[in-house]
């Protein structure tokens, strides 16, 4: 997806950091094993969070068997792989594949020229993996397709921010509620996922605002701040817009934290807490106030990844 949902590394314990990395690498391997090596390029922090949530849910006992192996991408690097609960990793792998395929379709729709051809090629390369993933987990495929459809509708009708957040939020809620072990946890996980979905969508909109203004693409914030006639963010409005976006994001976090208190105390509670209460605010700081661009972030991530 977008890579916004990640821990604040400096505040993780060393063992938590190792565990996070191991989950990350295991997910990477699971994607490659189930859906082909190409798909591992779509590995993301967001989906790692999904794995953490689902592993946190059912299993308190520590019976993981860690193995060291070569990294799929970098033969010089060693990774830790955990061999357990392969079905959970497979589900997350399928989710990665289906989501990135959906995003590809979306991009294909938006782009023109050479980029469009590149996306077309990539899409045809991915279609086999997508079909397999959709077959393995039809309910995920259904949820994502529903999201894409209502997203397109909301954008077509130029709806306001809340309505535009709804498809992403609902999709995440549906997918995460599936992880719950009982009804009460369903509500808790559903609430976290719903507001996380809203947070992600709003963050993406804030992150893309500058580009979308330039390219005249849809962005719900354009309507919110009445920027219909400008090609860049006007300087006199910039700090107001930044603060408003940040406030909207804070609102979502303030709804997630009470739910987080009620989440089962599990193996990864520490990391999950870190991600929501520290990692997300850090992203707000970096993207909204420090204007760290997507390119810069990708570069940073590459150092860590693979």
């Amino acid at each position: 997806m977008f890579g916004y949902v990640r821990p604040l590394k400096g505040e993780l314990k060393v063992n938590e950091y190792d565990e996070y990395k191991a989950v990350y690498c295991t997910l990477c391997k699971a994607i490659s094993k189930n859906y082909g090596r190409l798909q591992s390029f779509f590995l993301s922090f967001d989906l790692t969070f999904y794995v953490l949530l689902s592993l946190n849910e059912g299993f308190k006992e520590e019976n993981k068997c860690a193995n060291h192996g070569k990294c799929i991408f970098n033969p010089l690097k060693k990774c830790t792989y955990i061999f357990e609960k392969e079905d959970i990793y497979k589900k997350a792998a399928a989710l990665t594949v289906i989501m990135s395929y959906g995003k590809l379709k979306d991009n294909l729709f938006d782009e023109k020229g050479a980029k469009k051809i590149a996306y077309k090629l990539l899409k045809s390369l991915c279609s086999k993996a997508y079909k397999k993933a959709a077959e393995d987990f039809p309910f995920i495929d259904e949820a994502i397709n529903k999201m894409l459809q209502s997203q397109a509708e909301a954008e077509k009708n130029n709806m306001h921010l809340d309505a535009c957040c709804e498809p992403t939020a609902n999709m995440l809620r549906e997918i995460c509620m599936d992880l719950a072990s009982d009804d009460m946890n369903k509500t808790v996980l559903g609430t976290i996922a719903y507001f996380l979905g809203r947070w992600i969508y709003t963050m993406d909109a804030a992150d893309d605002l500058e580009d979308d203004l330039k390219n005249k693409s849809f962005n719900p914030l354009i309507k919110k701040f009445s920027l219909e006639n400008s090609e860049t963010i006007p300087e006199e409005k910039r700090s107001f817009i930044e603060n408003e976006c940040n406030a909207a994001l804070n609102g979502n976090i303030s709804m997630m934290l009470p739910a987080l208190n009620l989440l089962n105390n599990g193996r990864y509670s520490g990391i999950i807490n870190n991600i929501i209460s520290l990692g997300l605010p850090e992203m707000q700081r970096e993207i909204i106030f420090l204007h760290v661009t997507k390119k810069q972030r990708k570069k940073e991530d590459k150092k860590e990844k693979h």
């Binding site: 809340d162 509500t187 809203r198 909207a248 976090i253 997630m256 934290l257 009470p258």
Partner: protein, 219 residues
Amino acid sequence: MKDPYKVLGVSQTATDEEIKDAYRALAKKYHPDQYADSPLAELADEKMKEINEAYDSIVAMRKQNKQTNNSYGGYQNTYGGYGYGNQNNYGGYNTASGYQDVRSFINAGRIADADQILNGVPAESRDAEWYFLKGSVLYRRGWLEEAKEHFFRATQMDPENPEYRNAYNQSMHQRSGYRGGYNPNMSVGTGCNSCDLCQGLICADCCCECMGGDLISCC
């Protein structure tokens, strides 16, 4: 029943003070104020009851032990006990409400029904209360931005009303970053970096030299 010590997350050998602290921390975590208007209220209430019971039973157990040991005087129960006191209740404030049915739907959690009635009100007869109730409906659905706009509108139309003002203030407070999130104006304790450290040392050296001593001999 669960082990009360486990519920509070303390060891059996913890002091009374530690137990009280653990209890207070948990009570803060599950405090019903955070869960007003939330579908999680029930679950939070359950947790709250659990820790209340655990704390009570530990206090009772220790009191008994102390009486049998006959070493200390009676244990003073100083905790106030947290519980549901002031859940937001729509309808309590405004007896002359034109939207009694909407308020009772919201109280009963029937958000869709409440919304339907509200949407049926023609645009020209929408008053401050309408905006407040519509905001409440939106808030419960999780549409925080729209909810805030509606609360704002309600406070503008009727600035004196404490109910509307409370709702708006709460929205703004959530957005401020004090309840989680990021606040650019909040100073973060960053400690001192290496530059600060050197500066401090040089300063200390200067001070020492003034007094005739020396901290860093080479300068």
